[in-house]
Structures are given as C-alpha cells and as structure tokens.
Symmetry: C2
Amino acid sequence: MNVSVLGCGRWGTFLAWYANRVDHNVMLWGRENSRNFNGLNLTRKNDYLSLPDGIELTSSLEGALSFAEVIIISISAQELRTFANRLSQYDEIHGKTFILCMKGIESTTGKRLTQVFREEVGKNSNVAVWVGPGHVQDFIRNIPNCMVIGSENIEVTKQIAKAFNSELIRFYYGQDLIGNEIGAATKNVMGIAAGMLDGLKYSSLKGSLMARGTREISRLIRAMGGNDLTIYGLSHLGDYEATLFSAHSHNRKFGQAFVEGKPFDKLAEGVSTIKALKELSEQYNVELPICNALFEILYEHKNAKDTLEELILRPIKFEF
Amino acid sequence: MNVSVLGCGRWGTFLAWYANRVDHNVMLWGRENSRNFNGLNLTRKNDYLSLPDGIELTSSLEGALSFAEVIIISISAQELRTFANRLSQYDEIHGKTFILCMKGIESTTGKRLTQVFREEVGKNSNVAVWVGPGHVQDFIRNIPNCMVIGSENIEVTKQIAKAFNSELIRFYYGQDLIGNEIGAATKNVMGIAAGMLDGLKYSSLKGSLMARGTREISRLIRAMGGNDLTIYGLSHLGDYEATLFSAHSHNRKFGQAFVEGKPFDKLAEGVSTIKALKELSEQYNVELPICNALFEILYEHKNAKDTLEELILRPIKFEF
C-alpha cells in the first residue's frame, strides 16, 4: 500500500519508519525550511532513528497527497484546522483515508480533532485516529506495545488495523471515537499533573491522581455521549506508564520543570488541552477538579503546591 | 481512643506509629520470640521507624484485646483464619471494631478476608478494611496520601475514617466492600506482573497491563456482586503507583527477581492471591487471562517471557 506521512517531527518520522517496516511504500512530507525537514533532508536521520532508503522525503504536499491511499497526519494538534483547510484545497484527498496521529483538543472550541478535520475537509474522505501507548525510543529498540485505531466506521478501523498490525504494534479496534479522542488528549493533562507531583516530591500521590483523574474524564466522556469505560482502556489509562512515569514524556517533564521553575522548550500539548477542557467543562456542565486546578496554576498563576495539596487533601468523602 | 495493633511487621508497626500520631492510646502486639517483636522489644525501632514512647509493646493477646475499642490486624493474609479462630476464643472481642489492614484472598477457598474473619469470629464484632496506596517510607517522611475505609456498615466506616483521618492520610468512604477487598488483593498480582515486565525489559508494557489488568478484575468483581467501577478507585488503580512503579513494592520486586532468576526472601502476598484467583475464576466462570498466565508461570513453571509475550501480543481484537 502507498502511505504518506504528513509531519516529520519525532512521532511522524517514526510513523514513516514504521510504515516502511511493515512493507508499505512510504513518502514523508515536511514543511520546506522547517528545522526537522532540513535535518532529515541533509542527514536522513534525527535524534531517534535513521530513515531507511525506501522512504521518499518530500516537501510537496500535492505530491504526498497524490502518492498515497492512506495519509497519516502528525502535526501539532492546535495547527490541525489550518492544515486541514489547506488540504481541503486539493482534489487528491477525495476517497482517501486520513489517520490523525496526535493527541489534543482544539483549545478555542473544545472540538475533537476528527470534528475539526471533518469541518474543514468534508465527508468525502475517511478519517480515523491512531492512539495509545508507546515511545519512539522503545519501539526502535524492538519493544512491542498495544495501540488503538478508532473511526466512525468499523470497516475503516479494521482496514487500517490490518494494514499496520505487526509484532511490534498490536492494534485493538476502538469502539468509542469520542472516548478515544478525549482520552488520548487528556492523558497529556494527567501527565502534566504527574510531573508537577514529581517536582514537588509527591510522586507517591500519582496513584491517587490516576484513580481520580480517570474518574473525572470518564464523567466528561459520558456527558459528551461516549462510553464511561473507554477512559480505562489503551487510549488513556493504557498510556499512563508512558505519560505519568516515563522519563521520555514531554508533558510530565513540562509539569516538573514548571514547578521547579526551570525552562522547558519542547511542545507539551497538554497545556492547550487544559484550556480546551475548561471550555468543555462549561459546555457540558461537568466538574473537572484536577483539570481546573491545572488551569488555575498554568493560566491564572496560582501556586502549584498549595493548589495541588488542597485538591488532594480535601475533606473525607465518598469515593464515587 | 484506645487502639491495639495486632502484628508488628513493617505495616503493623507503621499503623501503631500512625495511630499514636493521631492521638490515640496505642498498644502494639507481636508474637513472643518472633523476629520483629524481639527486635522492637530490644531497640524500639525497625528498619523504617522508631516507636514513640507512648506506644506500649506487648506479647499478651488478651491484654491487647481488652485494652482497646478498635483493634487493627496486620498479619499475613493466609494466616488470618487461624489467627481469627484464636481471637474468637476471647470474650474481650465482643462489641469491638476490627480493622483488617492486609491485602489478600484466602488461597484455598477464594474467600475475602472479611468473610474469613466473620466465619471464625461471628457477628458480635464489627469488621472493616483499610486499604489503598501509601508506603511506610513515604509516610514517615511526611508525604501524604489518600486511603479507603470499607465495611458492611456505613456508620462503622464513618467512625473509623473520622478517628484516623489526618493531614497525612486522607480517608475516603468505601462503597463496595467486595470491590475494595478484591481490588486491594489483586493489585499485588498486577504488581508481580509489572515486576516480571520490568525484569524482561518490557517496562513500557505496564501501560497495557494497567488497562487490561483492571478490566479483567472489574469483570470478576461484577460477577461476585460488586460494582465494576470500584477497581478504578483508590483500593486498586490508586495503588498502582505504589505497586507497579515503586522501588519499595515487594510484589513488583518479587516478579522482577523471579524472571531474573534471583533469590527474594520477602513476603509477596500476590503469589497466594494468584492461586485464590484461579479458584474464583472457576467459581464465577470469569476468564482472567493475566491472572491465569501468572498462575501458569508461578505454579506450572511455564516460561515467563513466552507466556507474557503471547498474552500481550494476541491477535487484533475489540478492546471491550
């Protein structure tokens, strides 16, 4: 199968490497003159891996779109609307299957990424999400994991899972697109909270964070029309090892650096998601105490230690 | 309030220390000539803490029972039946409240610890469980956590939570005794699985383990008459940080040592729980793939790496 990957950051470049490994013909697109694209163009490698010869690197979006039947998008979630609008101007997108490999919610609207994509691109293409645990650093060392493909159409889900399944990534069929998208985006938020607890030397409170964080997002997903168990599957809880405990997690590291007052220059997508959750909390009238505490810390400059202690050490009460 | 703690291992000794800290009069009982009791008797400290002067150490069971209104039991779960039978021979137990601070299921019968206690002691005493996350090593360094009190009687639950609540341990009221007991016991089982993954250099699979482990135990609890969400609360998921990720966890360390072929001399309660789960899986006709794989590894000498890989990397399928 011909597969294009749009976006050549850490994850996009890995996905091109992986698609090549499972025997697809692969084109990897990046923005001309972007730092990632220039680096790959010059050396055919990044900090994590080397591109196999079979992968064609291009900066022609039209070329990448016309080449492939399946098109993977891996860019910053907040840039998806602008990018999808740009895609909508190409006839080559019709009838193709797009897979969104990113985790976020549009911060200004609270919209899920497949919603944003549909609004810009319309109904003539398929759209799916590919979420769940796994770090580039582990996969390239041949350490396997389980991930999820979700879409509105189970046949599309099955086709994608079949095309990309391997001993390295074992796919499950997502059964709740709302839950999978919200779950994938919000695990970054819990990652930021976990990093803050680490930075405050409260790592042992990450257990309570897991129990109570899943709970509040579960309530939100149910209010949005999804299944209240999805949060406990691979897209969210299954990603906690990678996000709340791993040394590789950008969001966890961001949270830790934030409370330690240290600089941090990588993208922590959870920061925008926290803003989106404020919006969703109001739209759906669901209380999200942890997400709201993080909003107050990051956007309203409340003291992190005081705010998190108050959150965790609230008076005795019923658990559910 | 007068409180006795029966059992002077790591956790029992901590509970005596904690009960003293929250201003109760405390008696700590241990078996005469046991290693832990002798050590405390000689030095008034163990590897973790020093006993404050206010705590009376005794080897008289009758004395400890007659002294207190609330009696905490912290011994090996598999010894509870014999011990409870011994308690039943004292008139001093009537009308008192017993709190079981241990995590296990009777391996030969699949019975929960409050069931075992009731069968031996009868209905004339109250019985509750105190479960949830928290390591002695963290508490004595003043790092707080949230825990759960559960019983068949909400008034008893509330009294205990009120008597022991503090800034160091914030209590929630358990609402599902079956779920809290099974959840607390089985988190040790997932701890052993996590240790095996760590030992096999598959730590990043602990995310999938969390998602799928909670799922199968949730099905069991539901079959047993409990609530299928309880597993995602403090008694199980909330204890995953301490059990699946902490360097202090005996069960995690046991699993790691097992696959590395190294000796390990501490009690790993999860080993007996795995046997109990085999029993419960048959009694309630619920498939428990992870627990069963661990049973095969520990009791039927199947290869850990092959068995766990096969478990994780099963064919593509629906997640729920």
